[in-house]
Symmetry: C2
């Protein structure tokens, strides 16, 4: 079953991210204010804020651009609190891969990572598990775990709970930055598959599957087999699927100059992230039937009766990373990315009020 | 009144950081595990973890060492939740200055900063205030606010509460790193005054002053004048005193090669932070009567009946940053630091089991 295409959802009654307590519009307003304040601190050396990472021209290193990003795991953490065990290490991997993909989207190779782990009362086993996951993922992405902060904050976090954020620095030569400015009509849009929700949309997903914070009951819910899941995986396993890194797949293509634009599909989905790498005169027309959507999305979209607009803004819907390449490069890129799918095409913008991403609604 | 010197505290009945829910020893055990895991990810380019910042040798930039650090505001945030208003901007300044001092302690000039702000429900006014403080402090420290993450996580944070962490990157030439290896006997220890607790010891301080989380009652407590405070400031104002940056004072001394070792006095106090910049064969002998202790510490130490060992491990006790300089440089450095105090001397270690910092107990 593929829920991308058919317009069979009652959009008036569907659950929204706002219902789950997350207001993307309020966040966007706050982010705009932050950008304005931050812009006042940027000198000649720093680039604009708003892409997937911030850029900084390294003094004394001609042509070298440092690219940095900060992010958190978000409420996927509550899955780990509920399930425990190996899920804690997964959180560590998730935040590293999330950050690595963010700076990859500008063409940067990751150099080092620092984590921020805050909890009410330190459980050495949990800390070791989370940081073990962080260290493993750093090694897999070819970067150093350079440090971090482990904070014990009684009265701030409930027993057994923690927050986890990450900070990454990489670099790219200024001539090699991929910011989408080279994207043009007729370019090809290639999607790389996600493993699931990665690290976005969990406040809504938890609400849809019925998690309430009652641990024994939530564990039962998560242990149920995913409807339509095929291989018998549980809802919990599907929701805990790791945020994968695209560094290994994409970096060789960047070295060969084959990519014009990239987007890491995180909060805001394809609808909000793809425009970040599109020139204003270009539109991405997508074909949602062109890729397979993991069963977990079908389940969430159906149970939550989510509108089509909402699902593509809250979830990645199966596409974790997007490459935009020249038509003449498409065959080579596709041959080097066995999992890649041709998911759309760049077309010229006709009117200024057109949506920058089309094909995701009926 | 100066509580540093006299041994008038009943050490058996005094309140400890552990009583307040923070176990520094457990944290140290966890940190050791983290270091071991992190060390496995460090290649030729990255330096050892354990100083105030992590170091990374920048590829393509001969001699350039990037220095990075991550930190959080900790439970000082609860003061801002209680008092509101301008206290939110203060939290932003606090985290930036904390991070700037951390990498300064290795000799690094700050380049850029990213923040992580996580809350249950975004309040645009609070976000704007916090990030305004971050931006102001970045500008004051001569660095760029390059980006950050603003996370809305319902079910993770209580209404009106948030966590705030920061990440900083600076650089130093490898020949200019100040890691304490040049420190030797007869060197002089100079203390720079703190404004108060900066960002450490607040879980205990809140317990000592009697804050319970009952907002109206806590506000009344904080509005009371600080006993012995002289200028009539309230307990709340004293506790909210800003974490000051030492970048402006110290960087010119570094440029002139006048400093052999530095320590940022954060969690762990003088007792745990000063040893980080001491060679194994050196001991710092301090004279606690040599500097003025802000009244807030007298109040906390007296009400909490804190043992001498505990107070110097939990609080900075009035010394926010320490410089170790050669005897022949002492006069020049002191003349350039009007607020500096000669607080001790480096002496040779005689036996391997001696404490690395002496003079802080009876």
């Amino acid at each position: 079953m593929n829920t991308n295409g058919p317009c069979n959802t009652d959009q008036a009654t569907g659950v929204t991210y706002r219902d789950a307590g997350v207001d993307i519009d309020t966040k966007m307003t706050a982010v705009e204010q932050i950008k304005a304040r931050a812009a006042s601190t940027l000198g000649d050396t720093a680039g604009p804020i708003g892409h997937f990472g911030g850029t900084y021209r390294m003094p004394g290193a001609p042509g070298q651009i440092l690219v940095a990003s900060a992010d958190g795991v978000g409420t996927k953490l509550r899955l780990a609190f509920t399930v425990g065990g190996a899920a804690h290490a997964r959180m560590g991997e998730d935040i590293v891969n999330h950050c690595a993909n963010d700076i990859l989207a500008l063409g940067a190779r990751p150099h080092f990572f620092l984590d921020y782990f805050a909890t009410g009362q330190l459980d050495p086993e949990v800390v070791a598990s989370v940081v073990g996951g962080v260290a493993d993922a750093c090694a897999a992405n070819g970067m150093a775990l350079l440090g971090g902060e482990t904070a014990e904050m009684p009265d701030m976090y409930a027993a057994g709970e923690y927050d986890l954020a990450g900070f990454i620095v990489g670099s790219v030569m200024d001539s090699d930055i991929v910011d989408g400015s080279a994207v043009q009509p007729d370019d090809v849009v290639i999607g790389l598959p996600s493993t699931g929700l990665h690290t976005n949309g969990y406040s809504l997903a938890r609400k849809i599957v019925g998690m309430t914070g009652d641990l024994p009951r939530d564990r039962e819910l998560l242990a149920q087999p995913l409807p339509g899941g095929g291989n018998g995986e549980s809802i919990g396993e599907s929701l805990l699927a790791p945020h994968r890194s695209y560094v290994g797949d994409v970096m060789p293509l960047l070295e060969d100059g084959l990519v014009r634009g990239m987007a890491h599909i995180t909060g805001g989905g394809l609808s909000d992230n793809l425009p970040r790498t599109l020139p204003h005169d270009c539109i991405a027309r997508l074909d949602p039937m062109a890729w397979d959507t993991p069963f977990i999305f079908d389940h969430l979209v159906n149970v939550g009766q989510m509108s089509i607009a909402e699902r593509y803004r809250v979830f990645n819907m199966g596409v974790g990373f997007v490459l935009i390449v020249a038509p003449e490069s498409a065959d080579e890129v596709m041959s080097r990315l066995p999992e890649g799918r041709l998911i759309g095409q760049i077309i010229p913008r006709v009117t200024s009020d057109e949506s920058a991403v089309q094909g995701l609604s009926c």
